[in-house]
Amino acid sequence: MAAFFQALLQHSFLQHALLAGLLVSISCGIVGTYVVTRRITYLAGGIAHCVLGGMGFARYMQVVHEWTFFTPMLGALLAALLAAFIIGWVNMKAKERIDTVISAFWGMGMAIGILFIAKTPGYGEDLMSYLFGNILLVSQRDLLAIAGLDLFIAATALLFHKQFVAVCFDEEFARLRGINTQFFYFLMLALTALTVVLMVSIVGIVMVIVMLTLPAAIAGRFCLRMGSMMALAAGLCALFTFGGLALSYAPDLPAGASIIVLTGVSYLLSLLFKKR
């Protein structure tokens, strides 16, 4: 642990990693609270896995067709928003079983990503870092993008807090009070998509759903209101990111997986405490 703090002072990549983790925690706490209370975990998981399609496509275009502007993060952003819109729309309109529909997108999103990555020269490392995250590779430019998205998510959540709470608690009532519940449902999914993209750089696609649900779930056991649940979830998310990073440093473990295990164990331990 001491070695970690020493390294933190010396290496800018570690400072970037930590800063990224702390920034993302804000969105994670806010959006995680929506996901948990509105019970759209599986939907969020579907969006997360569709992201691979976007990242694979972007990487392919970058390498093979030299679209240099088309970064994997931009691809992830587009794929996440598209997936959120389509899954949300199907959920609202279609009479299909929604979990089946999500499974279809979940699998197809990943498959498309794998196909593109397979056709991209030098694919091996890319795939691993997309799937399992690589917090230590966060660049200064990534940090700026993360901060921008973070600010947007937090501002939106703050401005429309009462509408989001009402839509999560009792959508029908909110609609009767003249709230455009469809709009807020899609806005919530869009915020979820943006947060997924932010988390992917930290813990990777496969483990996003853990960070999006467990800190909020722990917070929900102790908090009486949405606002405090968001704050505590964000704090926990920051703590787990910091802790996982610190614990993984000396034994040279993958940071993303360490963060996830720490989060999961903390959640299980929280179950031992009595609920509020």
């Binding site: 608690f169 609609r175 709230i179 929900g220 209101r225 949405m226």
Partner: protein
């Protein structure tokens, strides 16, 4: 002032299944009525049509002289509590504040006047000292009162309650209806219930919904009517004893 609810020749079906046939219904100001009928008879459908959540295939519906989507702003609605998440992190005051949506500003948090109105309404239902309690820590009767306060805080002219007493014991149910009776001095109240015997002690009219819609003054309610509505096995109603 137009009537709270006016329904004429309304037909509604889910696909080939006819739910409501040629329904007519008229409700005057400050009436206290109950919608009764068997499960699957169309009570909830009728409610949702009045609230503008479902569109009938034919017929006209007006709520305070307007189409339901507009007129429903004057309605305070109490859904069945079982449809809500019992563990949701909100306090009693948070829930009541939701009733201010559509009145309050759209950006930012609730205003001071929203909070004052919510506190006032919680006092009205006798729960202001519990305003900071989480909803999950309140009893069934208290939760119902919080939801009634939420329905009332928008100052509606019509209160619509969907099975408000289904999860309450007898004593709390009576408290609830006493409260409704008092509120009835100012507003029109419609209670959906499956317990004809109980509600007929309080309401003036009973609207029987079982694919067809008939309105009866309470005095007409007797065993034959209930038999017609529900089929056979329903325990007899004894207004004579209960109203002594």
């Amino acid at each position: 002032m137009s009537q709270p609810i006016q329904i004429e020749n309304l037909n509604f079906s889910y696909g080939p299944v006819s739910v409501l046939e040629d329904a007519n219904l008229s409700l005057g100001e400050r009436e206290f009525v109950s919608i009764v009928g068997p499960n699957g008879g169309g009570k909830t459908t009728l409610l949702k049509i009045i609230l503008g959540l479902l569109e009938p295939q034919s017929g006209s519906v007006s709520v305070f002289g307007k189409v339901p989507e507009i007129g429903r702003k004057q309605i305070g609605y109490l859904p069945q509590y079982t449809s809500l998440d019992a563990l949701f992190p909100v306090t009693a005051l948070d829930v009541v504040l939701m009733g201010r949506l559509g009145i309050t500003r759209s950006l930012g948090f609730y205003t001071k006047s929203d909070r004052e109105a919510a506190h006032a309404m919680l006092s009205r239902v006798g729960l202001d000292k519990f305003h900071n309690r989480p909803l999950s820590a309140l009893s069934g009767g208290q939760k119902q009162r919080v939801l009634i306060a939420r329905a009332l805080v928008s100052e509606p002219k019509l209160l619509l309650l969907d099975e408000p007493s289904s999860s309450l014991d007898d004593y709390v149910e009576q408290e609830l209806f006493d409260l409704l009776q008092e509120l009835n001095k100012e507003l029109t109240i419609v209670v959906v219930s499956h317990d004809v015997a109980y509600v007929s002690r309080y309401v003036e009219k009973v609207i029987c919904v079982n694919r067809v819609v008939h309105t009866h003054p309470v005095s007409e309610i007797d065993e034959n009517l209930i038999h017609d509505m529900y089929g056979e096995h329903v325990h007899a109603v004894r207004h004579d004893q209960e109203q002594e």
